[in-house]
């Protein structure tokens, strides 16, 4: 079941990245995400993507990274297709590369598509590499250390726990449907499955809330903290460096690689057709599969 191997679930390990305090990881993650959002340029985005992959391979979590990339593949393909198909405004005049029937592929549109795809992959990669090397509980601790209010930290941490939980529940319900001889593909199968999934999840969350409150959670007393996770001088320095990098990155990104400055990607006509063709095929495959599923239901 794919849900059991969600690319975002923690993968136990003993690498440097695993052992690093969650605080600098969280700060660097935020910095990287902000940078990716402001800088829309293939070069810095590719750099972020490669850095995330280097970290992932170093920490032995290439598997989940690869799964995340595969999940995002169809979305990436559709971005390229839609960018190329949409009318592009080019301040300095468009430079057509090739023509595919009614479709004209311009260097500007292609550049834009590639930049968006790189942004998507870079952001997903940094998120995955941090998520899979950090235990949810450590995130909770890090959020607390960064002075996030306790309830906010708790909600974030339990939400991370809830995603795999919902996945497991859905898998069980779909199994139950199959075991009863019902269809388990298509919208018509999924809808009735969602109700038991949410009923089960709500019942569980309700019980958790009751049991937490019965254990004194939310009492008006200043909470103390049992765990004082190792948070050394080095971690602190790294966290500050992350914050600094975030500010510099954001400024640089806005100044140099802002939205208006996406470079055109001028490639030979055959390459342009190839890129768009492959993306279009992948896109069509996804749409086709969805249509078949709906028709079957």
């Amino acid at each position: 079941m794919t849900l059991a191997t969600s690319p975002f679930a923690y993968v136990p390990g003993a690498s440097r990245l695993h052992r690093l305090s969650a605080v600098p990881k969280l700060v660097w993650l935020i910095a990287a995400l902000v940078f990716c959002l402001v800088a829309l340029n293939p070069v810095p985005l590719a750099l972020v993507l490669s850095a995330a992959w280097a970290l992932a391979l170093g920490a032995g979590v290439g598997g989940p990274m690869w799964r995340a990339m595969r999940v995002l593949g169809p979305l990436a393909a559709s971005i390229v297709v839609l960018q190329v198909a949409a009318p592009t405004s080019c301040p300095g005049g468009c430079s057509p590369l090739a023509t595919l029937g009614p479709l004209t592929i311009t260097a500007e549109a292609l550049g834009r598509g590639i930049a968006y795809v790189l942004r998507l992959l870079a952001m997903a990669s940094v998120a995955v590499v941090v998520l899979v090397t950090t235990r949810p509980a450590d995130f909770f601790g890090a959020l607390r250390r960064l002075h996030a209010p306790h309830p906010v930290a708790l909600v974030l941490a339990t939400t991370m726990d809830l995603v795999p939980l919902l996945g497991r529940e859905l898998a069980i319900v779909l199994d139950a449907q199959r075991a009863r001889g019902l269809r388990t593909t298509g919208i018509r199968a999924l809808l009735p499955a969602l109700l038991p999934v949410f009923v089960a999840a709500f019942e569980r969350v309700g019980r958790l809330a009751i049991s937490m409150e019965a254990r004194g959670y939310g009492a008006g007393i200043a909470r103390t903290s049992y765990r004082t996770t190792a948070y050394g001088r080095m971690d602190r320095a790294l966290a500050w460096a992350g914050a600094g990098a975030g500010v510099i990155g954001a400024t640089l990104g806005l100044a140099r690689w802002g939205v208006g400055s996406v470079p055109a990607v001028a490639v030979p006509a055959w390459a342009a057709v190839g890129i768009v063709g492959v993306a279009a095929l992948a896109f069509a495959a996804v749409i086709g599969r969805a249509l078949v599923a709906v028709a079957r239901a």
Binding site: A4, T5, R135, P136, A137, D138, F140, L154, A157, T158, D161, E169, I172, V173, D175, A176, Q177, R178, A179, R180, G181, L182, R183, T184, P192, A193, L195, P196, V197, V199, A200, E203, R204, R207, L208, A209, I210, S211, M212, E213, A214, R215, G216, Y217, G218, A219, I221, A222, R223, T224, S225, Y226, R227, T228
Partner: protein, 592 residues
């Protein structure tokens, strides 16, 4: 700490009605509990037990909304007014599902959660955490991750979490519902120690009455929200017929005593009844029974013809990412008309074996054939016409908007005619006593009724093979009785039935054969009778023979057949034959 007021709990005419409910969940309950008492609370599903227990720290009505009546006082304060979260240092609450996960870190973090909430300085936490873990037998578990604990260990952790804040009252609602016999013994052993050695006041509701009959100082019985009995266990549990009318099963020992015609109040524990019967049963010899038990006749009629419907051959299955296989090298067959129990500790592979048989999991090695179909080469949807399963949690397998639709869903998927479908639905609704609920939404029913609907939903498919996972958990006597009947009826129709369960009394009544699993391995496949006398096997697999069997074994071989008895009916017959035959016998007469 100041001296707590006594009684510690006092309810006077206390009532509660859920928002939008038509009748009171609790109705004019008057009850006093003194410091250091150990109170067992009994009631059929829906009798108001959970409502009563959770009212003690204000969950009802603060988190579960509704209207209250009368007066309630716990340790001199009104739990309706004092916020739930402020009760943590006075009342500890434990549910059937450990509901942990407040921190998702280590065992120590989980226990520390309550202390953090109360603002206990970090330096004082470790000794208190250690003490709480020690008191539940989890010393040294501090750095373990809860998800790696067994069901019994998790439940003990939940008790430690409740204890760490130092409550003087511990309230537990079905703490052993999901536990194997060994886990159950451990949990109730802890409660006994907390009560006797630390003076903790305990209120516990659990279907396994046996587990606390000896320890409780008092039993309170609820029916339709009212207290209908309140007294020492010997009196309340000693009248099994009275309890039976309320849909509550007393201890198996008491039921046996009554069926044998002992005067009320009858003895309530294995120990007591064996002592009492010992005087009456002629020739009661000490020592274990002879091993001829192994080849004595099975409980139900044995068919000479054996059409094998389930054929599991050398099957191994490992969950992705798991270090050890969940099922390893298992081989077994189940014939038409056979009822086979799968028993073993939590995590021994029972559920996995069931999921392999219905095709949801495919063996990594070996093969499984169900009604002649290889599960590896047929889609689950095809297999569904031959094998049906009822899952442990029925909420996950109910999809329709009404109970009637739910029952019709399977046959409709099989393409039966509407006339035939409505006929089947009608028949089953009657057999399962669901007639009044046909227009209700399945997910708005209680857990026990959901279970029955889930069973009905698969029985409408008229399966050749039926796989049930913990069918009697939380079901209560009435529903368990209906299930028992349906299982027998299905078997009589030639259905092969596999039941994974911790309920040895239930299996003793319905199963001819038991498969014993331990760590994914199939360690025994033998008649129930033979398994229940194999003490080393039972100990290894964390199991326990039914109470009636233990009573008989204590009496020693009395020369009755079959020996030892594994069900109430057999025990009545055996012990009546062995003793004087002059007393009244209840259902025992119906035994062939």
């Amino acid at each position: 700490m100041t001296e707590p007021p006594d009684p510690v709990i006092a309810l006077a005419g206390f009532g509660f009605r859920h928002v939008a409910a038509s009748r009171e969940a609790l109705d004019r309950v008057t009850l006093e509990v003194r410091l250091g008492e150990y109170v067992g609370v009994l009631g059929a599903p829906g009798a108001g037990v959970t409502t009563l227990l959770t009212a003690l720290d204000g969950v009802v009505p603060q988190l579960v909304r509704g209207e209250t009546f009368g007066a309630i006082s716990v340790l001199g304060r009104d739990p309706r007014v004092v916020p739930v979260r402020e009760w943590a240092r006075h009342v500890g609450l434990v549910f059937d599902d450990p509901s942990l996960g407040a921190t998702q870190a280590t065992v120590a973090d989980e226990v520390a959660f309550g202390l953090e909430n109360l603002g206990v300085p970090a330096a004082e936490m470790d000794p208190r955490i250690t003490a709480a873990l020690n008191s539940v037998g989890l010393a040294g578990f501090e750095s373990r991750v809860p998800s790696t604990l067994s069901g019994g260990e998790l439940q003990r952790l939940a008790i430690a979490c409740a204890l760490v804040t130092g409550p003087s009252i511990l309230v537990l609602d079905e703490p052993s519902a999901n536990l194997d016999p060994a886990g159950r013994r451990a949990v109730f052993g802890i409660l006994r120690r907390l009560n006797r050695e630390h003076g903790v006041t305990i209120l516990v509701a659990d279907q396994a009455v046996e587990a606390f009959a000896d320890d409780a100082t008092r039993i309170v019985v609820l029916d339709q929200g009212r207290v209908v009995a309140d007294g020492v266990p010997a009196d309340v549990l000693g009248s099994p017929a009275t309890l039976g009318r309320l849909g509550i099963r007393s201890t198996e020992s008491a039921v046996l005593g009554e069926a044998l015609g002992l005067p009320a109040p009858v003895p309530t524990t294995v120990e007591q009844i064996a002592r009492r019967l010992g005087r009456r049963v002629r020739g009661a010899a000490a020592g274990l029974p002879a091993r001829r038990a192994a080849d004595s006749t099975p409980a139900a009629g044995e068919e000479a013809v054996s059409l094998v419907l389930v054929d599991v051959r050398d099957v191994t299955y490992r969950y992705p990412g798991a270090a050890a296989p969940a099922v390893a090298g298992a081989s077994l067959t189940v014939a038409a008309g056979e009822v086979v129990g799968i028993v073993g500790a939590n995590g021994s592979g029972k559920t996995t074996l069931g999921r392999l048989v219905n095709g949801l999991l495919r063996p990594a090695a070996g093969s499984i054939s169900v009604d002649g179909l290889d599960t590896s080469s047929h889609p689950v949807r095809t297999l569904a016409a031959h094998v049906s399963s009822v899952f442990q949690d029925p909420a996950r397998q109910l999809f329709a908007a009404t109970v009637a639709d739910e029952l019709a869903l399977g046959p409709r998927a099989l393409g039966l005619s509407e006339a035939r479908i409505s006929e089947r639905v009608r028949e089953l609704a009657q057999a399962l006593e669901l007639g009044d609920l046909l227009e209700r939404h399945p997910l708005r029913l209680g857990r026990a009724e959901r279970k029955l609907v889930a069973l009905g939903a698969v029985l409408t498919m008229d399966p050749r093979v039926l796989v049930l996972d913990e069918p009697t958990t939380g079901a209560g006597v009435r529903l368990a009785g209906i299930m028992e009947e349906r299982v027998r009826a299905a078997a009589a129709n030639g259905c092969a039935v596999l039941i994974a369960s911790h309920d040895m009394a239930f299996l003793g009544r319905v199963a001819q054969r038991l498969i014993v699993m331990d760590g994914g391995r199939l360690v025994a496949d033998a008649p129930a009778r033979q398994v229940f006398v194999d003490a080393p096997l039972l100990a290894m697999a964390g199991l326990e023979a039914p109470a009636v069997t233990r009573v008989a074994l204590r009496l020693g071989d009395v020369g009755a057949e079959p020996w030892p008895p594994v069900s109430l009916e057999e025990a009545v017959l055996a012990l009546r034959v062995a003793g004087s035959a002059d007393h009244r016998v209840g259902e025992g007469d119906a035994v062939p």
